[in-house]
């Protein structure tokens, strides 16, 4: 084969390699299973008004504590509210809060981590001491304490989760930036007279954000669990709004006779967590550099 031929075929080979990589994502059974689970769960949550005609908070004391049946798919609770309906609306609320709650710490952690990693020195010392302080407390202790102080509700959940889980993003991004800023392309960007802000935003972050993104996938699970836990402890969304955590708690009183009241929301949480972690792992494998 002549040199010319080799040169001509090189881009083709590169194209083929890219095609292989692009095709590969749906060949991963775990990732595929996770996506299916998430699509089903999120789809059901979004389509809640279409899937059920009941109101999640309308009480009907004549029909309290019914077993599963034709009218009430999963029965009713002690106030006669349809369990299936409350599940769907609870899922809707908890998923929404979790997806929003993951954004704030992501942004805050990425910004502070970049500053610490890029500038080093006292900026780094201050930010990382702050991280150390937050890390010193167990996650739930700090979240529960913060929500307790701020009072139950959606806003408190956002604040508490942001205040606690930004540290993981900050650590990840700081470490990545420390490595990346040693690369020649950063020196080249400096040599091109670009400002620090521009170098961080346009040159460093696009190269390191993947790691934070992968972590965010597993962080959502932690957020959902935190929201459900807070609801269970009565610190989440105030009643009568449907929420998986408070449903688990409410059903506890009837565990011996109506176990489905507690068990089904619990199973839904597990199912959502499974879907998210399968997707998170799959994406991590796909996005991780060098794969």
């Amino acid at each position: 084969m002549s040199a010319l031929q080799v040169q001509a075929e090189a881009p083709l080979a590169a194209g083929r390699a890219r095609g292989r990589q692009a095709r590969r994502w749906y060949r991963q059974p775990a990732l595929m299973a996770g996506i299916v689970i998430l699509v089903v769960v999120v789809g059901m949550a979004l389509a809640a008004p279409l899937l059920t005609s009941y109101n999640p908070i309308a009480q009907n004391l004549n029909a309290s504590l019914l077993g599963p049946g034709a009218h009430h798919l999963l029965g009713t609770d002690q106030l006669g509210r349809d369990t299936f309906t409350r599940l769907l609306y609870g899922l809707r609320l908890d998923l929404r809060i979790a997806f929003i709650a993951v954004l704030f710490p992501f942004v805050l952690g990425v910004v502070l981590g970049s500053l610490a990693g890029y500038f080093g020195g006292w900026v780094d010392v201050i930010i990382m001491r702050l991280v150390d302080i937050v890390v010193a407390f167990p996650f739930y202790v700090l979240v529960i304490a913060l929500v307790f102080v701020l009072g139950p509700g959606e806003r408190s959940i956002y604040i508490a989760i942001t205040a606690v889980s930004w540290v993981a993003y900050a650590r990840i991004i700081r470490g990545e930036i420390l490595v990346a800023k040693r690369q020649d392309y950063v020196t080249a960007a400096r040599a091109g007279g670009l400002s620090s802000l521009r170098i961080m935003g346009r040159h460093l972050l696009p190269n390191v954000i993947t790691q934070a993104f992968i972590y965010a996938m597993s962080d959502i699970i932690q957020d959902i669990l935190a929201i459900v836990t807070l609801g269970y402890l009565g610190l989440g969304i105030p009643p009568p709004t449907a929420d998986l955590g408070s449903m688990i708690n409410d059903g506890q009183n009837f565990l011996s006779t109506h176990w489905q009241l507690t068990t089904t929301p619990g199973l839904v949480v597990v199912f959502v967590g499974l879907g998210l972690s399968l997707v998170g792992d799959g994406l991590a494998d796909l996005l991780r550099p060098g794969q």
Partner: protein, 338 residues
């Protein structure tokens, strides 16, 4: 300083803090680059060439520091300038081309936008105008099909094409001087020749001066008019390229020439320089080359050896060697050999 000089480096010293102690990476280096001229800076690995370049541009690694000296670019002392003021000069006044074009290009940014970024920031061009300028630069540096390649990523380019992109980035803001850090070392020989021709042609066309760091003597001879030889953080010889390489007056230059293949300096076999480069944490006293020098005498161990003009030789020829006549004799002996 004359109006003809674009870059003037005086007694530049750079220290690097390392675990073994303070490394005197650059130790009292002085040179001038004439406007539109090209100065080669040669020496083996670790002689301080790259640190000199990075000190000029102000992009030293965090553990390195300029401890004294002056770097005057167009009359302005860069050492005294604050960060943001230097930033305004990088790009429109001076630019750098790196050894590894793959590492020096952002892997996740389309090359067209990497070229267009400088003009956007420094020349205040709009996105569209900067993109047009990038396309024009890509044509000038000989990247085929620039409209399509504009949207490609660095990994889709060959080594030579990446270095062309680097040249386009360096030229993007019409700098007055380009600092090249072994720009062809990572390329194979045929591509190397193309890149060197391109670089010298573009610089000649737009009157850009060059500082060209390399350890490759034929490359210096191809690109530069003047050359400065660096050893152990100091300059040991300086002059016109052909004079220095064909008629060296410092035993280290002689050693470099003797150990390099395919230069006009004809000899039967390559002769390596014995020993290894000096530790720059505790450099040898006197002349830093004396432990490896065949001609060393007692005074080489004790006296300081600054660069001094060679008596009776025009063209700014200077050497740091106390006994440069010995080198001259050796060169003549080499020539006399059949």
């Amino acid at each position: 300083m004359s109006a003809e000089t674009i870059l003037e480096v005086r007694d530049l010293r750079v220290r690097i803090a390392s675990r073994r102690g303070l490394v005197r990476a650059v130790d009292g280096v002085s040179f001038d680059v004439p406007r539109g001229g090209a100065l080669g800076l040669v020496g083996e690995s670790g002689s301080g060439k790259t640190m000199t370049l990075r000190a000029i541009l102000g992009v030293l690694p965090p553990e390195a520091q300029i401890t004294s000296g002056e770097i005057r670019l167009d009359g302005v002392d860069l050492v005294q300038l604050r960060g943001s003021d230097v930033n305004r000069l990088r790009g429109p006044k001076m630019a750098m081309i790196f050894q590894e074009p793959m590492g020096a290009l952002n892997p996740v940014m389309r090359v067209g936008w990497q070229i267009a970024e400088g003009p956007q920031v420094h020349l205040g061009l709009s996105r569209g105008r900067a993109a047009e300028r990038a396309l024009e630069l890509m044509r000038r540096v000989g990247i085929p099909d620039p409209e399509r390649r504009f949207r490609a990523y660095p990994h889709e380019f060959s080594g030579g094409m990446r270095q062309r992109v680097m040249i386009a980035i360096a030229l993007s803001c019409d700098p007055e001087i380009i600092l090249c850090d072994e720009p062809t070392t990572a390329l194979d020989v045929t591509i190397q020749d193309q890149i060197l021709r391109l670089l010298t042609r573009l610089c000649r066309e737009s009157g850009v001066s060059l500082v060209f760091v390399t350890h490759d003597l034929p490359v210096v001879a191809q690109v530069c008019r003047d050359v400065a030889v660096m050893y152990g953080g100091q300059l040991v010889e300086r002059g016109e390229v052909r004079e220095v390489l064909l008629d060296p007056r410092h035993p280290y230059t002689l050693g470099l020439v003797r150990s390099a293949p395919d230069f006009e300096y004809v000899r039967e076999s390559l002769v390596p320089i014995p020993g290894s480069p000096p530790s720059l944490v505790s450099p040898p006293s006197g002349c830093r080359f004396h432990p490896r020098c065949a001609f060393a005498e007692d005074d080489c161990r004790t006296s300081e050896t600054p660069l001094r003009p060679l008596p009776g030789v025009p063209g700014g020829r200077s050497t740091a060697c106390l006994h440069y006549e010995r080198t001259l004799e050796a060169v003549e002996a080499d020539r006399a050999r059949p």
